[in-house]
Amino acid sequence: MQKGDASVKLIIAIIKPFKLDDVREALEGVGITGMTVSEVKGYGRQKGHTEVYRGAEYQVTMVPKLKLEIVVPADLASRVVETISQIANTGSIGDGKIFTLGVEDALRIRTGETAETAL
């Protein structure tokens, strides 16, 4: 495997929480059977909300998002990105972002398999 031209990619997608199930199903259709999901707070163009407790006003600038981390063979990467961006799109501000990073090594703990076979 040549560095800088990783055969495996990490796709990080920030999406609206209620889109998770749809995205997961759509990705299954593309052959993706694994991912790791975190609850995160997103800050961006989408405005948050105001909370008031006995007159103390708090501007909450962060909105709840889900972060999907999906490691995929390089050749699948663009289809995955495309799928997510289609399904997670609602057309309204705050739909999120997708970032692609190169992965140098991947390993499945249970079997010791590496690279694409580890996914």
């Binding site: 909370e51 008031v52 407790y53 006995r54 007159g55 103390a56 708090y58």
Partner: protein, 446 residues
């Protein structure tokens, strides 16, 4: 000898039995008197209900309002302060407030004496009610014990999230002795300054709420603001807990108010219905006040209004008709709303859980308002013998005396406690949270 106006005069009667000129004949009658099980049952129930207000009631109400990292600290302080108050009560508190041997002269207007360590109290001892009935003295002592305990715990609302546990304990011991017991004596015991003046306080508007509210404010000023207040975000960590606490406080408050009739009679029934409707009005009118001032009607607003209504109806519980009570509850909620949300931010003190803003202010509204709703023309149970103006004036004087006494007593207790134990936790401990720093635990390990 006994005034016909309704007051929480048990102490009066209890002490009449063993003191003064009426000694001989009254004692004879008293020894013979046996509590009606119905009244004893009711007063035990009422006592337990006030206990429910403290743990878990107030512990949850206050605990829900602080940040996660201070939850256990608040609950433990509320619990431990209450425990300390109970022990002090049976040692010297009951004696100072309601003991049979009040010192003669001016002193007797401020404190009583005797019954130290409950000496002389037996299974057969009784305390008089407002009619010819009696209840077991152990029950009366327990009932009043819970009042002392919750009042001490209420004060914490001004100083949570920053003061050492040890400081809180020392403060409480001194504060009860020099502030609570004398005020209870002044208001509720015959010979007490405000009692003799004719001040109306059915269930503790002055003794409990004005007293606790003012003390919380003074203590908040002495111990200072929380680090980060008011710029940092400090939203309540669990309004769910606060809502549970609100419900339990309301439920327990029937013991507080209807129990203060000392009998399961019509006055208790009146106090009960007033405690329903004044509170209902308080909860709804706080939300309404929010809406009118362009905010959203909030859950915490509802809870706050419920407490504001309960506080205001406390002195009036048996001293008002239901519609007087509704007015009082609604008005108290609106006034407290403006104090808490509009005035407090401007003044900038950190009465963290609004013990002053709700108990103090609501207590003042209630105490003075009681002079009005007591009148027969507005459906109150008063007989009109004391005119509205005169009664209101008496109420105002009582409020001013209570405010002054509470402020001075608290200052003394706070500075003493600070000197002995240090006062605030370190800045690092405050950042980390008192749960870990003071108690070595976390409230939640999900």
């Amino acid at each position: 000898m006994l005034k016909q106006t309704l007051k929480l005069a048990a102490a009066l009667m209890g002490s009449t039995l063993v003191t003064g000129a009426a000694f001989a004949q009254d004692t004879a009658a008293a020894v013979a008197a046996v509590p009606n099980p119905g009244n004893n049952a009711w007063m035990m129930t009422a006592t337990i209900l006030v206990m429910l207000m403290i743990l878990p009631g107030l512990a949850l109400f206050y605990g829900g309002l602080v940040r996660t990292k201070n939850m256990l600290s608040v609950m433990t302080q509320v619990g431990a302060v209450a425990c300390l108050a109970m022990l002090i009560w049976v040692m010297w508190g009951y004696g100072l407030a309601f003991g049979p041997d009040a010192p003669s002269g001016v002193m007797g207007q401020f404190i009583s004496g005797g019954a130290w360590f409950l000496s002389g109290v037996t299974l057969e001892s009784t305390a008089a009610t407002f009619s010819d009935e009696v209840i077991s003295e152990f029950v009366f002592i327990s009932f009043q014990m819970t009042f002392a305990a919750i009042t001490a715990a209420l004060v914490l609302g001004g100083i949570v999230e920053r003061v050492k546990f040890s400081t809180v304990m020392v403060f409480t011991a001194i504060w009860l002795t020099i502030t609570y017991f004398p005020i209870a004596h002044m208001v509720w015991a015959e010979g007490g300054l405000l009692f003799d003046m004719g001040a109306l306080d059915f269930a503790g508007g002055t003794v409990v709420h004005i007293n606790a509210g003012v003390s919380a404010l003074v203590a908040a000023l002495i111990f200072g603001k929380r680090i980060g207040y008011p710029t940092e975000r400090m939203p309540p960590h669990s309004l769910t807990m606060t809502m549970i606490g609100t419900g339990l406080l309301w439920v327990g408050w029937f013991g507080f108010n209807a129990g203060s009739a000392l009998e399961a009679d019509g006055f208790a029934g009146l106090a009960m219905i007033n405690t329903f409707v004044a509170t209902a009005a308080g909860g709804l009118f706080w939300m309404l006040a929010e809406a009118v001032s362009g905010r959203k009607g909030s859950a915490l607003g509802f809870c706050s209004g419920v407490i504001a209504g309960l506080v205001a109806v406390t002195p009036a519980a048996g001293n008002s008709g239901p519609f007087g009570a509704i007015l009082l509850g609604a008005f108290s909620a609106i006034v407290c709303y403006f104090i808490v949300t509009e005035m407090k931010p401007k003044l900038g003190f950190d009465d963290s859980l609004d013990a002053f803003g709700i108990h103090g202010v609501g207590g003042i509204v209630g105490a003075i308002g009681t002079g009005i709703v007591y009148q027969p023309f507005i459906g109150g149970p008063g007989d009109g013998s004391t005119g509205m103006g005169a009664q209101v004036w008496i109420q105002i004087v009582a409020v001013l005396v209570a405010i002054s006494w509470a402020a001075i007593g608290t200052a003394i207790a706070a500075y003493l406690a600070k000197a002995v134990t240090g006062g605030r936790v370190t800045a690092e401990a405050e950042r980390e949270g008192l749960d870990l720093a003071e108690h070595g635990e976390r409230a939640y390990n999900y």
